[in-house]
Each structure stands twice: as C-alpha cells, then as structure tokens.
Amino acid sequence: MYVVVAGGGKVGANVTRTLLEMGHEVTMIEQRPDRFALLEEEFGPVVMRGDATEISVLERAGIARPPELLLAATGDDEDNLVISQIGKEGYGVPKAIARVNDPRNQAHFDLLGITQTICATTSVLGLVEHEVPEHGLVRLLELQKEGLEIVEVQIEKDSPVAGSRAGGLKLPGGSRLISVFRHGRTELVEPETVMRPGDQVLAIVSNDSALDLRRVLLGAPK
C-alpha cells in the first residue's frame, strides 16, 4: 500500500520505519531543515522537505495517486486538520488518520469530519482511569462512526445490581453486557449470570447512554 506521512517527528518517523519494514511504499514530509537532514540520512529519498499543508507539496508527495492512507502527524493540530481535509476532500484519499496533540481540539476534528484520530494524552488518561477504580465507568474503546463505546464497570458491594440476574436488569436502550471478569476468569454474560461485588463487567453502550448504564449498575454518582 502507498502511504503519505506528514510530519517526521517521533510519531511520523517511527511509523514510516515500521511501514517500510512491512514492505509498504511511503513518502514522509518534513518541514524543518535540521530534522529533515537527520531523516534524510536514514530514509534517503523516502523523506521530502516541505510544508505538508501546501497543496503543491502534497502533490509532489503523490497525494493525487491517491495514497491508500494519509497520516497527518505533525505537532500542530490545525496543520493536521487541514492536511487531512485536503487529502480526503480534495484528492479522495480513502483513509486519513490525524494526530491530535491537544485533546481540547478533538471536538474540532469531529466537527470537520476527521473521524480517525489518535491522541497520546487521551490514551494515557484512559490508562490512568483504568488504574483508578473510583471512576466507576472506564471507557476502553470508542467506536466513533458507530456512536458506540466499550466500557468497563466494576461492581461494588453497594451496587444496586449486586446479587441480581443479568436477565432481570433494566438496561438503558442501546446497551448490552458482554462479559464479567471474576476470579481471574472471563465469562460471557448470560441471562442467568448473577452480578457479584468485585465483578469487572464489559459492556457495549451507545455514547448517549453511558451515564444511564453507570447509574443502573452502580447507582447515582457519589
């Protein structure tokens, strides 16, 4: 597959190296002369110098072929948004993945139709939440296009559902319990599965019902 990578920082350079090792064809664009010089030593003609938000630079990188994948991985969110928009809307690139540097800008990416994003800060925060059980409901995976998320909930002693059968629970619409992890083993949730304190429950839920699901399983937030 052909991939254009905008931005030759840690993310861009490492992704490029791995894609090349996997046998893919890559062009990486880097603007800064000092960084470009270092990258050129390692990557040779794979890296080209220029501002990836300039249409002529993207065209020189082969955006019109178009590549199967465009990765906008510069350190600037506005640049990543514009690069993704030009690729998708101007050249019909089927898949653009954008790096979000500041999670506060995520809403702008969503608004402007750049739905595939990666944000290191958000990922780290997710892991932190996972380690802090008081949060109650942990978002493990967001399926943005589908409007669904996979969440994990730890059942506590005072949870309203402790001791109840899964089949008898009044779950919010658009949600379903998938599995419980207890005593080091995972079991799929059946109607006769009884919820017990200490259970880690995996559930799939629509974005707007996540808080309702939390209320059903854990009660009102303390």
Binding site: E78, L81, L111
Partner: protein
C-alpha cells in the same frame, strides 16, 4: 448586530475599528494582551485575551449570537480551522477568513468558506499596474 474579530494584528485591529465605526457591536480576540493597544485608547468594543481554537474563548467573545466574524490570525491553517468552526458549530452566516496561500484560499473557497487572499490581491494589482502603465512587449 454583533461581529467578532479573531486575531487582532495590523489587519484584524483595523477591521475591528472599521466595523465599530460602521455601527457594529465588535469584540476582538487575540492571544496577546498587547493587541489591545492596536485598537487605540478610544476602543469602545469588547476584547478577549485567548486563542481562537479554544471554544471557551470564542464563547466568551460572543460567537454564539454573532452575525459576522473575521478571522485574521497569523496562521493560515489556524484561520481555516477557526473559520470552519464558526461556520459549522456556531452557525455564523458571514464568516470571512484571511488566507495568505492562494492555493489553500481557493481550495476552501470552493468548499463554501469565504476566504480573502491578500497575496492573490497583491499579485493581481501588481500585474494590472504594470499592464496599465507600461507598453506591452512587442
């Protein structure tokens, strides 16, 4: 009628003053407090310090019920993103965005954003002036 001017440099501050003189209720936004000086001591409009990518700053400047917005920060891509946010998220009918790169200005103009490209204007005026004042080559 409310107008918001994002980016209060040489261009933005002059546009803000012009709109105020036309009778608009104007709020200017800039990252730097120093930009307030460009608006002059007689500035009767609003002023918010902050980045235009920050929704809190935009809302503080009153974008939710603004009728017009001019985006003229120093960065083309920043202007393009803020302009689209003002248009799509806040539904401002008249959003005008300054873009120095002619190619990007045209690309986004084709997609429904009102872009103004001073570079393209300079190119046209310079060419027209030469054409009008010098004899055409044989």
């Amino acid at each position: 009628m409310k107008a918001v001017v994002i980016g209060c440099g040489r261009v933005g501050s002059a546009v803000a003053k012009g709109l105020l003189a036309d009778g608009w209720d104007v709020t200017a936004v800039d990252e730097s407090e120093d930009a307030l000086m460009r608006l002059g001591s007689g500035w009767r409009g609003g002023f918010v310090v902050g980045h235009g990518m920050d929704a809190t700053v935009l809302e503080q400047a009153g974008v939710s019920d603004a009728d017009a917005a001019v985006v003229s920060t120093a960065g083309d891509n920043t202007n393009l993103v803020i302009g689209q946010v003002l248009q799509k998220r806040y539904g401002i009918g008249c959003v005008v965005v300054r873009v120095l790169d002619p190619a990007r200005a045209e690309f986004y103009a084709e997609r429904g954003l009102r872009t103004v490209c001073p570079t393209q204007t300079a190119i046209s005026v310079l060419l027209d002036t030469v054409r009008a004042t010098a004899p055409a080559p044989a």
